[in-house]
Symmetry: C2
């Protein structure tokens, strides 16, 4: 068996087309959805991510602006910028790009945002609503993207056993909550595994679906899978590639041999990544729609 | 093998003694911790629960007052009372006893509380912080009580497989989050099962610890357990008992035969129940301590 690759780019394109038409509808009613991104310092990856997000916004008609503060900005500088953007009606969503320099207390920066302007769904109010099963607010982009990837691929988690590897606030924990919801496209039995799990294979071998968000290469190998498993690979890891100009290449958490036993897998690039980016646009347009409805 | 019964009353008594000494320390510094309970209508169970909670407060030196509104109170009446109690410095914690009459929107009532006065840990900010792994705020009382029950019994969930049966916001979901935390007394691999789980026994037979919060009698039987399993039974169910004056008796979610195979079980009464009540006192004194520290 050779696994079918899930085309995250194609599914993300559908979602972006839907967002674009919602943006047109909003503009017709006088609301131009806007996203404010914040970069503190000169982290090259952050600059690259944010410029990609700005390009995505442009593609679907969302206004975006990037605010840059120097590496030496104080915590208070960042909070003041957040407060200014909270009050700026041009922006329906705010994205403080992480990581920030050491002197900035990231959680407090996130908490300083209006919950309704939280583009990444990481404000405690939004995470709390998620835990209560309320799904109409901002949902963290990667887990939300994984849910949409499954839905668009026709893989219904209901009644299935899903093993989530990784317990981060960004991915593993909210995803476990989403998958276990009593809701269409969810209703799975979910096991959360992590670095404290003694024998990961014992769990993954029982899984119908494995979601990898561990951040380690070869977290899952073919020997740890049962035939026909669905593997969603959130991991992005650098491995040495001396023949490449960059000196490295990006791989996921799954070993390549997983593709010999799985029914579906996401590729290392063009899998979950574009979905995460697309869901940021969904959160932004949703925030603008809510405001336009007077919520 | 006959399971050892976990004495929730004894463990709760230790926690209450600790709370009482913290109350003494607070009063010495000029803060008298206070809890405001709200009952809307004439639900007999609510009245009985709240009077029990008031007695618990008295026992540990916490000031408490119960505010009753008639069955016909409007949603706005309840929110106005919440706002009054938010502003009342005598009360460090507010407990809106659920369920409330149909015209009252319970989630909005909870959301109207100051997060720092949320006695039950159900405000979205507190649930969100829990999902972020921040454990110094108000934590929902039953899952918090289960964690303390395990700790006090010397059962370390680290590296163990815990199956949580039930996905409520009150118990199952926050407990799964707490158990999977990278923290002392946690660090378990956690499976969340529920009514959408096809073969519950397939999961519980692999568990080192089973927590039952399903609300159905005989959710777990001996045949669904591996020998030596630890069973924490949160369930409270009425079954007919014609020979009793009340006509019913209270049983948990575990069948009696579980005691023949388990190493530890909680009894139907005096197990998790007193722990839930004790953790309400912990949340109240914690809220007062935070205020006294100027947080």
């Amino acid at each position: 068996m050779t696994a079918q690759l899930i085309d995250g780019n194609a599914i993300a394109a559908q979602i972006k087309a839907d967002v674009a038409s919602r943006v047109v509808a909003l503009k017709a009613k006088g609301t131009a959805p806007g996203l404010a991104a914040i970069i503190v310092g000169d982290n090259a990856a952050s600059i690259s991510y944010v410029s990609g997000k700005a390009a995505d916004c442009a593609e679907v008609g969302i206004f975006s602006e990037t605010f840059r503060l120097p590496e030496t900005a104080t915590h208070e500088d960042v909070v003041r910028l957040i407060e200014r953007l909270n009050a700026d009606d041009r922006f329906h969503a705010i994205l403080p790009q992480l990581p920030m320099p050491r002197q900035v207390r990231e959680q407090e920066v996130i908490d300083a945002m209006l919950a309704r302007k939280d583009a990444d769904g990481l404000h405690p109010v939004n995470l709390g609503r998620l835990l209560r099963g309320e799904l109409d607010g901002a949902i963290p982009c990667t887990p939300h993207g994984v849910m949409e990837l499954l839905r668009a691929t026709g893989i219904d988690p209901a009644g299935k056993h899903v093993v989530v590897v990784g317990r981060s606030t960004l991915v593993g924990r909210p995803l476990a909550v989403l998958l276990s919801n009593k809701a269409a496209g969810a209703n799975a039995t979910v096991t959360i595994c992590h670095t404290g799990t003694k024998d990961l294979g014992q769990f993954t071998r029982e899984a119908d679906i494995v979601v990898l968000a561990a951040g380690h290469v070869n977290t899952l190998t073919a020997a740890m899978c049962r035939p026909g498993v669905v593997v969603i690979d959130v991991g992005v890891n650098r491995v040495d590639a001396p023949t490449r100009p960059s000196g490295y290449r990006l791989v996921g958490d799954a070993a390549m041999d997983v593709r010999e036993v799985a029914s579906y897998v996401t590729p290392y690039t063009g899998g979950v990544g574009p979905m995460t980016r697309a869901m940021l646009l969904v959160n932004t347009v949703r925030a603008a729609e809510k405001l336009a409805r007077g919520e």
